[in-house]
């Protein structure tokens, strides 16, 4: 099971890393690249805490993706969400609404929310439920999370309007 050199871009940074076929994207990011923002949860595709965004900004479960398949591709993790030195509106909103309890699922929640709001800044209740169904918060629930997403959506909508005027 020879190792293979892959070129992987994470948060805009290019990496070359030797991986075995059986290593998942999650394992390579955490163990080889030391990018530990993405969490290792159930590792069985049930909990969603390992969610990262793929090339089109779509949500991907990094625990069920083989690293070799990501040769030449790019991903965004929670470490790459902030804009310059400022937190992304979704992150700010999560903080303001206390949509974090132990924080373990937060990277998965943020990446799932970002995938939704990147394409839809006026999500309905159903849209939010559907987008977030794949991430499970074991501490408390999704009420504050949903409030935070709605708030972030309105910030992003305002930003769109301002951009439109300028």
């Amino acid at each position: 099971m020879a190792k293979q050199l892959i070129a992987l871009t994470v948060n805009g940074d290019p990496y070359e890393v030797a991986v075995s076929p059986h290593q998942t994207l999650l394992e390579v990011m955490r163990d080889s690249l030391n990018l530990t923002g993405t969490k290792r949860g159930c590792t069985a595709g049930s909990c969603g805490v390992c969610t990262v965004n793929g090339e089109q900004g779509e949500v991907i479960l990094s625990c069920l993706a083989l690293a070799v398949e990501w040769d030449g591709r790019s991903v965004t993790t929670v470490e790459g969400v902030e804009e310059g030195n400022e937190l992304h509106p979704i992150q700010k909103s999560f903080l303001e609404h206390g949509a974090v309890q132990c924080g373990f699922c937060t990277p998965g929640l943020i990446m799932s929310a970002k995938a939704l709001l990147d394409v839809n800044t006026s999500p309905s209740e159903t849209d939010i439920n559907e987008a977030m169904a794949g991430v499970i918060c074991r501490c408390t629930g999704h009420i504050k999370v949903k409030k935070a997403i709605k708030e972030a959506a309105s910030v992003l909508r305002e930003r769109e309007v301002n951009h439109g005027e300028s």
Binding site: G45, L64, L66, E130
Partner: protein, 329 residues
Amino acid sequence: MQLPQFEYIRPKSLAEGLAALAEHGDKIAIMSGGSDLLLNMKFRLEGPAYLLSLNGLSELQQLEKLDDGSLRVGAACTLTHLAEHTIIKECYPALRAAIFVVGSRHVRNMGTIGGNICLETRCWYTNQSKIWRDTREGCFKTDAEQCHVIKSAPKCHALNSTDSGPILMALDASVVLASHTGERIVPMREFYQNDGVEHTVLKPGEVLTAVVLPPAKGRSVFRKLSQREGLDFATGTFAAAVIGSNEQPESVSLVLGSVAPEPRVMPQAEKILLEGGLTDEAIDAAADVARRALLEVTNLFTPTFYKKRLIKVLVKDALLELRDQRVRG
């Protein structure tokens, strides 16, 4: 959980992949999205020496309208791609409904239609961690000649949870199975087998390359029941397709899913609706047939008595909804 080790094969063309399949026989597993196979490998239910990846084969990711009006869908199209595709939304809304309830958006972004059709069967006994299984006796899926779902059964009774299978059967779709010696086309109604281990007619060396949907005709409906609305295997699914009027239907196709090792066609219930039309009495009778058709076993999580009650309501509700749909040519 970590994956067991394997040799990774990424063919540049389907032909190259088929040659690898022929060469490695039953030592090779086929992966497209990976959300089912990799999970089973992590649970040590499968340990292939070779893994053939279909990702990157653009010839398996095409949607193509054929001359006779049917739609050929490449097996490696992701479920999200199909659920958001205009043709599927407009012409096959019941299929769209079935695809949209698979797993979560995360799973649908990775999972493919071919993978969902071939989804591995599951049961409450074997789909546990290896440590859990090692303390107990084996079964047909592992290393013994017994089934824990039905103790005296001569074969595996794991549950087939495919969400897309029943509606594809009801819509009279076919699948294209390719091997290095050629292709064969199998109607979806003949694709599954009532055995949890050999649950499809796929032979070693064969791969499902496409689904062919006949031109959209008549009305169809799909319903799924599950304990949670998102990210859950079905407690029961029901798919129905009717061509013709409510009073005198020309054809009726009813399929129950997640009740057995194969999606169940219900010929007796179909006959009732064909002869009686979609009247209240006929729908009631058909729903009752569905209830009685279930075996008295708990394959996965739902106790049978509960499931039997649910299925009757599920079938009735779906058929009433179908009856109210506008009749299409």
